[in-house]
Amino acid sequence: MSALNCVDVRELAPELALGILGGAERAEVILHVNACARCQAYVIELTEVADAIPQLVPEIEPPPHFEARVMRRLGEDQRRSRRRWVASIAAAAAAAVILSITVVRVIESNDTAANATPVAVAMTGSRANVPAGWAYVSGGRGVAVSVSYGVPSGEYSVSVGPARGAARTIGTMTIDSGHGSWTGQSTVPLAAGARIALVDSRGRETCHGVVPAAG
């Protein structure tokens, strides 16, 4: 239990929000905020303002070939820790359920998570043929779905169709203001060629993606 009360915390909340509070004071404030919804909301509001301050700094053109140098470093990092992002996908996909983030992901089934390699699938609008989000498929049956654009608000069925076999619904998801997510288990294995789609209440496919061969 924090020794600070709400008045104390509100005095220190701006420094916490600005990231300049250190040591014991920081620990005490965080302890209080974790247990006090009103102070927590206050800190969040201040943090939103504080985080916006760096966004005011004018843009500056980086030195020539900066992007290429960054991409080279990312490539080195990817080679060093190829397995890292398998775990990060699983974590991100799990987060998608809670946080309604903006992609379509298919995550590992429980028993294959450690060995599966995710495959990215671009989801595109079935009529307008514009991107709607992403899918990441690994290992089979665990599925997390979320899209961020191009799909009207409403209820949709999450449909999967194996390369050979009939499509079937594995869940429903709600799109609100262009955003929505869903996670669950596929009743059929999703291999290369499998199709993932969102189907509206009239049975029309709204967006879809096809699982490519694992690279």
Partner: protein
Amino acid sequence: MWTVSDDALVAGLAAGDRDAASAFVGRFQRRVYGLARTIVADDRAAEDIAQEAFVRAWKHAGAYDPRRGSVVGWLLTITRNLAIDAVRVRRPVAFDPAALLGFDAPSVDRDPAELALLSDDTTRLRAALARLPEEQCRAVVLAGLLGYTAREVGEMEDIPLGTAKTRIRTALIRLRAALVNEERTE
């Protein structure tokens, strides 16, 4: 023209998608480099920090939480923290918040699509900062942009610690109030 959302690019990063990574770097490199350069005031150090910021974003994209702020806010927070760590010893001597925040910068030519993406909040925050008493503006920018603690603000401004804390606190609360009030009047 259709534009991939920032959130979708981060999702691509989380999946190790190099096309998404390339688009992400291209989209934000001027902002990331601009912030790093502003804080460390050194071209080479700024490039190192900007590169590292993108590597960190790449590594931690899976943990990005859209409920806790925008992609650019997340990325610039990473950049700011790296830059502040880099200048723990080498502090700038001169400090002009108006110059740092581009209050006097000429407007940049942008295409309409890009202009539409610029945040209204950013515009409002800039106006609210400009309306603060100068000493409060300096205090909150020293803290919020350059990472100075209240004690360091006090030393830099030659004021007691309590006064520095009050300036920082009052400034941030006023900024928040200004943004909330403007939202209500819209």
